[in-house]
Amino acid sequence: MADKKDSAGLDAVDAGPVSSDVSGEHHAGTEGDASEHASVAALRERFADAVVRHRVYSGGQHVVWIAPEKSHEILAWLRDDPDHRYDMMSDVTAVDYGNGRPVNMVYQMYSMVHKRELRLRCELPLDALEIDSVVDLWKVADWLEREVFDLFGVTFNGHPDLRRILMPADYAEGHPLRKDFPLRGRFSRAEQTRRALNQDVERFYRAEDLSAGHAPQEVAPVEVGTLASDDAEGDA
């Protein structure tokens, strides 16, 4: 009896959190008042087609949902327009609600000049998880977008170095922060152990695995095998 109960509990863990019984379109709350926030009012005026909705949450935090295909244009405008000047990208992250609802990209911005905060969100349908990268606008987005790619599987078009960042480079179980990912991983513990033991550790020392966002040095013959075999080749 006790065993059965325990295994039911573990099954629940494996199934992943069920966050929402609402599927598909669900947008609670009422439309925010755009006149309270100068940037929201300007967005409504200039990008009327691309502004999907606007909410005010948590005591006056303005959130604007925008169309993903216009996201780069809108973000660039918000950064450069002298009336807004969101020069600081505080955070880039994503939210997965589960149950087939779209993954939300979240951009949290702050304007040093106008001392104003704004949060933009974009809904990406699960069958088209891609959006334009904003690394060309804010360099801070480099690692933050890599993290979203790693943990949510969102592809960023134009990102110079889109690799996994927190999970191992050869991680084969998917994207851990998605709601359909079970808490203990997709593989059994035995399979996880087997993979860990069979890992080719030396592989991670290869130069081509480390091709960062820089252009490769032309003078550098970096196609050496490993650090260990580097010496051996030199001797030969």
Partner: protein, 426 residues
């Protein structure tokens, strides 16, 4: 921050210009003809287990001689998926996860998390709770900066400041212990208040610390601030200008050292920080030395804030009176029917949240520490709990800062960023 002294010219000889900045004069005073040698760049690996990386961080460097051509940081060795774990826990159960991220300043994380939850739910905490949290956050700012001070000094060869700062840290550890029962994993906060009020005699303990700590700080100033070796190792190393620092996402002392006057406590004040009298140190050059000076001055300012907070610490309850948020006292829960029901409901069901999301930032010891929460109507668990990690963003700049410097400078640059890997990998 213009504390550059004349000792420099004497100390650094012809490599240091009259303005105190190192000049890039070649070692040989004649034109060097580059020999046409087939030189290869070398790939070296620092870490993941190395004392100078300040945690389980791996840096792969491409070197030309001893000059760093590029650095590729490799992180994720401590990844524990706290954000995923948070989705399975009720609001209060997440608190213990927060102090395991930045174990060098755990109370700031405890406070920041519950402040975000309270912002999301629209809970206004009591006046006493606000002041107590300010005290704890400023105390842990000193706590975090002290560890940075000791380990960074050791990286440039100064051993004594390490002993001084760790002695002072031990006193803060003891204060953690008498307040929460734990030295590192404090878990001191709860939604709507604290786990417990300050124990008797704790404020006296803190006052005694505040009386003697500035002396230690002054001694470290004597040892390092005008020290020729320390200046030679830090000035002009890892420079970033203000505009770049914003664009690359620097926050905290790293950003302020680059000359940008941005502090969450001042720009987006919380808990009446606008009523405290303190200054925000701002650097000029954005190099390792200015980062050092900024942090040293911040500790001094935190001492001032702590004194003001202790003076204004009001009496009264520390938890909000709402029984659907705060737990009743143990005696009440055992003897009174209503209290027992509330206790049971808060523990088993948790606290329901309204629909929405919330980004709440505090000034952590490393930079802007943001907590982003997404909840659905009536949910007692977050749909998404996201930490905006200041160290993660600060570390991503190391590739830019270290380019063209020597390997030994790379160690100093890494130390000057003040990273903690528990929070980077989460």
């Amino acid at each position: 921050m213009a504390q550059k002294t004349i000792e420099l010219e004497v100390g650094r000889g012809r490599e240091m210009g009259v303005d105190g900045n190192p000049s890039l004069s070649p070692i040989a005073p004649f034109d060097i003809v580059e020999p046409d040698m087939n030189t290869e760049h070398m790939l070296i690996n620092i870490g993941p287990q190395h004392p100078a990386t300040h945690g389980v961080l791996r840096l792969v460097c491409e070197l030309d001689g001893e000059t760093v051509k590029r650095v590729v940081p490799d992180i994720g060795y401590l990844h524990s998926s706290f954000e995923k774990l948070g989705e399975y826990r009720t609001w209060n159960q997440i608190v213990p996860l927060t102090d395991r991220m930045d174990y060098l300043a755990p109370l700031i994380y405890n406070c920041a998390y519950v402040m975000a939850v309270e912002q999301l739910m629209g809970i206004e905490v009591t006046e006493r709770c606000k002041v107590v949290r300010v005290i704890l956050m400023e105390l842990d700012r000193i706590f975090g900066h002290l560890l940075w001070l000791g380990t960074t000094a050791i990286d440039v060869g100064a051993f004594t400041p390490f002993l001084y700062s760790f002695q002072e840290r031990e006193r803060i550890y003891k204060m953690h212990e008498s307040l929460t029962g734990a030295r590192i994993t404090t878990s001191a906060t709860r939604v709507g208040g604290m786990m417990a009020d300050l124990p008797e005699g704790w404020t006296d303990q803190l006052r005694e610390f505040l009386d003697t700590f500035p002396d230690t700080l002054a001694e470290v100033h004597h040892l390092l601030t005008g020290n020729q070796i320390h200046i030679g190792r830090t000035q002009g190393i890892g420079i970033i200008n203000g505009a770049d620092a914003i664009n690359y996402g620097f926050t905290g002392p790293n950003l302020r050292a680059a000359g940008i006057d941005y502090d969450v406590r001042r720009n987006r004040p919380y808990y009446d920080y606008e009523t405290y009298d303190f200054e925000i140190p701002v650097g000029e050059h954005g190099d390792c030395y200015d980062r050092y000076l900024c942090r040293m001055e911040e500790m001094q300012q935190s001492v001032g804030i702590l004194r003001q907070a202790l003076d204004r610490l009001p009496d009264g309850p520390i938890n909000v009176a709402d029984p659907s948020i705060s737990l009743p006292s143990k005696t009440d829960a055992m003897s009174d029917m209503e209290s027992m029901i509330h206790h049971f409901k808060v523990i088993t069901d948790g606290i329901p949240a309204p629909e929405g999301d919330c980004y709440f930032a505090v000034e952590g010891s490393k930079g802007e520490l943001g907590m982003y929460l997404v909840a659905e109507e009536g949910a007692t668990k977050p749909v998404r709990w996201r930490i905006r990690p200041p160290s993660f963003v600060n570390l991503s700049v190391i590739a830019k800062l270290a380019e063209g410097h020597l390997v030994s400078d790379l160690i100093m640059i890494n130390a000057s960023l003040d990273i903690v890997l528990g929070e980077i990998d989460r």
